[in-house]
Amino acid sequence: MADSKHILIIEDDDFLRSLAVTKLQKEGFTISTSADGGDYRDLISKQKPDVLLLDLLLPKISGFDILKDLKEDATTKDIKVVIFSNLGSEEDIERGTQLGADEYLVKASFTLDELVDKIAAITK
């Protein structure tokens, strides 16, 4: 297997985050996590992820703001961003796509094995 891809998960729900970590580690990904999104810059400067799995409703900052910030910065705009949220209105999806998200998934409509397939597809 090639170098393991690094995924940063920003998700404030403890249970969902722990399930995602378990599943993605099992699939061979290297994982780091943030529970509130407030420390995303620190985490990225320590180890730049290949993929950011991003929730939108976070306690300290909006996921949209994180996405916008990363995609406007030349040093981070190549990080693939998968929005994984329970906001799923047309406006939310359009906004996420316009800001440069590589994938937009509504959590309740997906399972983690499907998430793994999506991540594999965009990191190919």
Partner: protein, 252 residues
């Protein structure tokens, strides 16, 4: 304060209370998605063997648990959509609309849906262009979507759906006919009632909110139009929508 002013105030109050309820429902349904995701993912991970092995007997039960969580997600999505439709009640944008363009767009969308259900759609456009309707095109599209979804969902294998648009006595007339299961005679008068679902429909599809036709009628009446139904059990159903055409502007 006279009676009319009082009534108007009462109506405003009702509208704002109804909007608050709708916003509350929206909040709850979105919140529910999170724990529901947790349940669904957990079942799937167990089924995929991510958390260890289990017996065939356990697998059957876990499978049922996963199916139940999926059904719940689908129902929740339907309630979210229905509630969005309710919220749109407060935001109608009327302008002169060419109904044939709205129908063209919707029919295109539904060709593929129909094909996956092994149902064919035929569309008969008006013989000559018909006038404009003062309408909210997006709302009319919702009506068409709801009716087409039903005509496909409750159709037979290799069934047909036909749509036609014509002009009749100052009205744009849209008809949607299907070769589906039809509605039992005693229940036809209830089809536009909120949450109503016909017995034979429930047998075929367990899910369904019973809001599609209710919403359709509400939208059409808001346009000053009418929607009616004819149905024969086991043969099919036809909906007829009449929307008043805009009077041509008379120059004096």
């Amino acid at each position: 304060m006279n009676e009319i002013e009082q009534l108007r105030l009462d109506l405003d109050k009702c509208n704002s209370e109804s909007q608050e309820k709708s916003e509350f429902l929206s909040m709850i349904t979105h919140q529910l998605r999170t724990p529901l995701s947790g349940i669904k993912w957990t079942f799937k991970m167990i089924l995929d063997g991510d958390i260890g092995s289990f017996s065939e007997e356990q697998k059957q039960i876990i499978n049922k648990g996963f199916d139940a969580s999926e059904r719940m997600v689908e129902l929740l999505e339907e309630v979210i959509t229905a509630n969005q439709n309710d919220q749109w009640d407060f935001t109608y944008n009327f302008s002169p609309v060419d109904i044939s363009k709205v129908i063209d767009g919707i029919i295109m969308e539904f060709y593929e849906v129909a094909r996956t259900h092994n149902v064919s759609i035929g569309y008969k456009p008006p013989e000559q262009s018909i006038g404009l309707v003062e309408a909210d095109g997006e709302k009319i599209a919702i009506v068409m979507q709801n009716l087409l979804e039903n005509s496909i969902k409750y159709n037979i294998d290799e069934g047909e759906v036909s749509v036609s648009l014509s002009q009749i006595d100052g009205y744009a007339r849209i008809q949607i006919s299907d070769t589906g299961i039809g509605i039992p005679e005693g229940q036809i008068s209830n089809v536009f009632t909120k949450f109503f679902r016909a017995d034979n429909a429930k047998e075929i599809k367990k899910q369904g909110t019973g809001l599609g036709l209710f919403t359709a009628k509400k939208i059409i009446e808001r346009h000053g139009g009418t929607i009616s139904i004819e149905s024969t059990l086991g043969k099919g159903t036809r909906f007829t929508i009449l929307l008043p055409l805009k009077q041509p502007q008379n120059t004096v």
